[in-house]
């Protein structure tokens, strides 16, 4: 465990622009404590404080998680400020650099709040405790006679108060209490958590001043654009740079080092054109002539592959979880539903394409990048530069805002490219990806097939159920022999089926990989959630029940489901299953809430229909409802709702924003999200043939947030999985056409 340390007198602070006399709390690793205490390192990037209070009472809080639009640079400081009893008006936020002293900085899996809520609160509580102790010392009273209140410590009997600023130099002399023993506030006393505070980056964004990785400008910097192998695993046979070098402003053409499989998160290699400005680099690139050896993945065809996966899941697979015996049973055809669902590769397409800037000076390296995983990237760079374990802090990694990420910017390939080229050119280099680069060389949500089979009981439920899936696993990045998803992946809306079934078989299939797989917002919950949400609707149709009633019947009694009971090693998104149970009551409540709020059982005109769906993922419960109209083979989405039960809400407006965004993201997936591959090459190039939702496709959107005191769940991803099936279910109820193969635009105009 990391410990909170009083670093007020540490030498590095002056390099971080912190005035002397400030009260500063940092984090440390227990085994590094002795070393850190004797250190007065002059490296400004050894900035690892969390809370700093200056003598003028201004509070600086650090956000150690990465911002990609989810609002974490507001929410993390908001939690610290809550426990600190700080006045939000006097809080400013600085972004942490990559530093393992912060603990996990990996901003993925919607984990920032759900996995770190308590530890973030403790930081603020420790600082508050020390300020209170400092005041008690000054007044020479018992600790219990003082209380922090909105940036002051108050003497509870006399009403006297001392500002945080005045207390800073006194608190700076105290030893922090054990963070485990400090008292956290009662939820009922929250004054910031659950309230909408001023968003940290809003003013800068609206003024056009917010700085993203693409915006980094350094003197003497070169801009690099890279032609990468069109097929994963491909290699450069030869290239001719003579015409490229004739373009005014082009400075150099550099062949990146060859890379091989396993592709890991390394660059794909290729040829880089480096120029004094972006335009020259792009023009130079057009003149490059490269001969490729496409390698052994050049025969990959995604449409054939999809059919192969569909065939695979119609056969028995390898056991993931089971209960009873689904194969000894004789199924009554009249009451049995079987369905195969297929999804294509899907790209993240953040509006800001990947970009990173690096300066390499011998064994020192400075980087500016929008990365979801600063420490992982730093480790990758250390490896690239051949640095020893004790030399990792030669790397200063500055984390910029990300213009969207959706999982793409967890991978450091574009950062390593910048480092490789900065080292080779001995100049600062900014690597920029074009939109075509982003679409054609991504880490895609895997192409997939899911299969479900169930027999309806006379009570309108099911008691025999088979779920199977087949898709290239993310583990292939590191292990070319990996053919099945690991248990963590399988826990995403697949191995955790919450229904009351006595006979169940959940199975996986072995699959080869041909493009780089990646984590796209909600990951395997996209395909698993689509299959589950679609299949419940299909069962409802067969049983002549409302979809709401079908969910109720399948979920059964109020209880906490434990997938381990079915022999599945369930990780529950790295959450304690006792604190974050699979609670069927919360599920049913939410499905009822959305059905009532959206009035999904209203009588509709012909050609219109409502669809609902649900998935619990990343510790949160989300239901979606969509109303569509299908006329002349055109689907128009008329209205969408999501209802979310994510436990304690920190920043309500950002929860709402994430749900609104998830509906739009889900719309893109359902209606038109598709990356297709022919001869190993991605076919799409830009937004004209890889469309995402535009404003004319957006219906009325409604978000319903359940008030709850349960521990917080995730928010960035869980909104996505129920959206696509709610749309296709609505299409079925409007048109009697069942979409089992996404995207919808293969069948309907959208």
């Amino acid at each position: 465990m990391r410990s909170i340390e009083n670093v007020s007198r540490r030498g590095f602070l002056k390099f971080a622009g912190i005035a002397s006399g400030s009260f500063v709390l940092g984090m440390n690793l227990p085994f590094a404590t002795a070393q850190a205490k004797s250190s007065t390192s002059a490296l400004s990037h050894e900035l690892n404080f969390f809370v700093s209070i200056a003598s003028d009472s201004m509070v600086t809080l650090v956000c150690h998680r990465s911002e990609m639009g989810q609002g974490i640079r507001t929410s993390v400081p908001q939690i610290i400020a809550e426990e600190l009893e700080a006045d939000w008006q006097k809080v400013s936020v600085v972004q942490a650099k990559a530093d393992k002293k912060y603990g996990s900085q990996g901003t993925a899996g919607s984990a920032s709040i759900r996995n770190h809520f308590t530890s973030i609160r403790q930081i603020g509580a420790v600082a508050r405790d020390m300020l209170e102790q400092a005041a008690a010392n000054i007044w020479q009273v018992e600790r219990s006679a003082v209380k922090a209140q909105k940036h002051f410590v108050v003497h509870t009997t006399t009403g006297e108060k001392i500002s945080f600023g005045e207390l800073a130099s006194h608190a700076a002399k105290l030893t922090p209490p054990d963070s485990k023993t400090v008292t956290l506030k009662n939820n009922a006393d929250f004054s910031l958590i659950g309230k909408d505070v001023k968003l940290i980056d809003l003013d800068d964004i609206v003024a056009g001043k917010a700085q993203y990785a693409q915006d980094i400008q350094l003197a003497d910097m070169l801009i690099a654009t890279i032609v990468r192998p069109p097929v994963v695993g491909g290699k450069v046979i030869s290239f001719d740079a003579s015409d490229a070098l004739k373009i005014k402003g082009v400075v150099d053409v550099i062949a990146l080092k060859p890379r091989s499989i396993p592709v890991t998160t390394n660059p794909l290699s290729g040829i880089a054109v480096l120029a004094n400005n972006t335009w020259a680099a792009l023009e130079g690139r057009k003149k490059l002539k490269v001969k490729w050896d496409h390698g052994d993945k050049q025969h990959h065809d995604s449409s054939l592959f999809s059919k192969q996966l569909a065939k695979q899941v119609n056969q028995q697979g390898e056991k993931v979880a089971s209960k009873g015996d689904v194969y000894a049973h004789t199924y009554n055809e009249n009451n049995t539903v079987e369905a195969t669902y297929t999804l294509p590769y899907i790209n993240h397409s953040p509006m800001e394409t990947p970009a990173a800037t690096a300066v390499v000076n011998g064994k020192k390296c400075t980087i500016w990048a929008g990365t979801q995983n600063p420490q992982w990237a730093k480790g990758n760079v250390a490896q690239e530069l051949g640095l020893g374990k004790d030399e990792h802090d030669n790397i200063e990694l500055n984390v910029t805002l990300m213009g969207g990420a959706f999982g793409r910017k967890s991978k450091a390939d574009f950062i390593i490219e910048a480092v490789e080229l900065a080292k080779a050119s001995k100049r600062p280099v900014k690597v920029i990806w074009s939109r075509e680069d982003d679409i054609q060389h991504g880490f895609y949500h895997s192409i997939s097939a899911n299969y479900c089979k169930a027999e309806l009981t006379t009570k309108g439920s099911a008691d025999h159920w088979i779920s199977r899936n087949a898709y290239p696993p993310i583990g292939w990045l590191w292990n070319p022999d990996a053919k099945v998803p690991d248990d963590f992946q399988l826990a995403l809306g697949f191995g955790d089926i919450p229904f009351a079934l006595n006979n169940l078989s959940i199975e996986k299939h072995a699959v080869d990989s041909f493009v780089r797989p990646g984590w796209v917002r909600s990951v395997a919950c996209i395909n698993n959630g689509f299959a589950l949400g679609s299949f419940v609707d299909e069962l409802a149709v067969k049983a002549k029940l409302s979809t709401r009633q079908m969910w109720m019947n399948l979920l059964g009694d109020n209880r906490h489901v434990d997938p381990n009971d079915n022999g599945f090693k369930y990780s529950n998104y790295n959450l304690d299953l006792k604190e974050h149970p699979i609670d069927t009551k919360r599920m049913k409540d939410l499905i009822n809430l959305i059905s009532d709020k959206a009035k999904v059982e209203e009588v509709l005109p012909e050609n219109q229909g409502w669809g609902i769906s649900f998935l619990r993922s990343f510790g949160s419960f989300v239901a979606a409802a969509t109303k569509v109209e299908v006329v002349n083979n055109k689907v128009t989405v008329l209205e969408m709702h999501t209802a979310v039960d994510c436990g304690i809400v920190v920043t309500p407006d950002r929860v709402k924003a994430q749900m609104e965004g998830a509906m739009i993201f889900g719309l893109s997936i359902a209606l038109m999200g598709e990356i297709s591959v022919k001869a190993g090459k991605v076919q799409q190039r830009n937004f004209h043939d890889s469309p995402v939702t535009r404003i004319n496709q957006v219906p009325e959107l409604y978000v319903h947030i359940v008030e709850s005191n349960a521990p917080p769940g995730g928010i960035g991803e869980p909104g996505v999985p129920p959206v696509a099936p709610s749309i296709t279910n609505a299409i079925f109820h409007a048109s009697k056409t069942r979409i089992r193969d996404l995207p919808v635009n293969k069948v309907f105009t959208v």
Partner: protein
């Protein structure tokens, strides 16, 4: 040498005349508020105003804008010339429109150009005009609401400086 008026100030650009304005703004003038999104005029992240009308700077060579007026997000201002305080920007803050924020300069520039042309747009007109601007975070609902609010709350911009009241102008147009 190409002379333009940028955010109400005369400037001279010494770049390849074929260079799209986007890269001149970002690389040469360090005005990075205008963003790259697609390089093909398909997403609107690079939207700026040319003589008050929205254009895609990623496909507009600087040779095409000589002696003309360009406004970028950095120049969008209220009636007193205060940057960041145009009606559109005020509404964007009020509705907390941005998530990641990357596309929002382009969204606001498109919105400001719309309100100059159509001071009180209908929903259909907003949708029609804003179709060229993609937001992958999905802030469209708030974009619509913010434009509505900006349009009814008054003033609209010309080249970054607000010069008239939207309602008044709408009335005048109706009268004429």
């Amino acid at each position: 040498m190409i002379k333009i008026t940028l955010n109400n100030k005369p400037i001279t650009l010494d770049v390849d005349p074929q260079m799209p304005l986007l890269y001149a703004l970002r690389d040469e003038l360090q005005l990075t508020g205008t963003k790259f999104g697609c390089g093909a005029g398909q997403c609107g992240a690079c939207t700026v105003h040319l003589n008050g009308k929205a254009i895609r700077s990623c496909i507009t060579p600087v040779s095409a804008i000589a002696e003309q007026e360009i406004t970028t997000i950095e120049g969008l201002a209220d009636i007193h010339g205060t940057p960041g305080e145009s009606a559109v920007q005020v509404a964007w803050r009020e509705f907390k429109v941005p998530q990641c924020g990357y596309c929002q300069s382009g969204q606001m520039m498109s919105a400001a150009a719309l309100l100059k042309e159509i001071p009180l747009p209908t929903d259909e007109q907003i949708i029609e005009h804003m179709q060229g601007n993609i937001c992958r975070c999905g802030t469209y609902k708030r974009i619509k609401a913010a434009i509505k609010s900006a349009s009814t709350n008054a003033t609209v911009t010309k080249n970054g400086v607000e010069i008239f009241d939207a309602r008044q102008l709408a009335n005048e147009k109706q009268g004429a």
